[in-house]
Symmetry: C2
Subunit: 154 residues, 2 copies
């Protein structure tokens, strides 16, 4: 199995609500949008985020927990890296303005950087991070140096 993810699919309660947040709110450009069914957004080289009707996900893939429920949020974080600490705070504010909810404000982290979290309208977590140890090279290769301790966030 090649070491590649083509699609990160998240089950969403309402595809049009997700469209309002990601496309209208954040200004992202869809790869494909089938109203009420699915919204695909390119998020990396060879990689798209798929926001798919949760009921359709259950029908094809089997029983599926909610994005946010009594036990907490889904055990996933989508990490987005920015150039400096001020940009972390600016992106969190922009996400809140677009309809997201700030969960954890920007703060210095043990792993050597600065980050904060917001939730999208379904409750999926995004971490906005300034991590001087994570470098995306021009060819798309990522290197992560241990700056102090390291966590799972980049």
């Amino acid at each position: 199995m090649r070491q590649h993810v083509n699609v990160i699919t998240l089950g969403v309660a309402d595809v049009e609500r997700a469209y309002t947040f990601y496309v209208d709110g954040l200004g992202w450009v869809p790869t494909l949008h089938v109203p009420g069914e699915v919204l695909f957004l390119q998020v990396g080289g060879g990689v798209v985020l798929g926001l798919w009707s949760a009921s359709a996900m259950v029908a094809e893939a089997g029983p599926t927990a909610p994005a946010s429920g009594e036990q907490g949020r889904a055990p996933i974080t989508l990490g987005h890296n920015v150039a400096d600490e001020a940009e972390v705070d600016a992106v969190l504010a922009a996400a809140a303005q677009a309809g997201g909810s700030v969960l954890v404000p920007g703060a210095r982290r043990d792993w050597g950087g600065y980050s904060g979290y917001f939730a999208d309208p379904d409750g999926y977590r995004w971490e906005i991070a300034h991590n001087p140890g994570l470098v995306v090279h021009p060819d798309g290769r990522v290197t992560i140096g241990a700056v102090g301790e390291t966590d799972g966030t980049g």
Copy 2:
């Protein structure tokens, strides 16, 4: 906020069990491995998968549901596209050999392709798909044509 995911972080019960599956079993190459804490694996242009100790995720990001529990599996699928139907079946078999569990065997789908699902040792779902409508271009751009109906899987 730029349209990019740098890190797909999943909370895992045991980082070394994940290492055994992805590195020893599937033969993937780590970007960074801090034993017992985190394993990063490059999975796209500018994108890494981070398998992070679930307890550390909770401590930083707040209450987090399990990857697989009474309500079902986490509402995420990682999609991996291959060239033809036979390769779908071959990858599912290889994942099972490496310690994964086949959840849904390969089958023709309403959206025009062929796919099946396996779970990694934590229970996270991967879909192995042959989707003639999803094309990764040489520059990393992804296009998705509607081949019959479309779902969230690629």
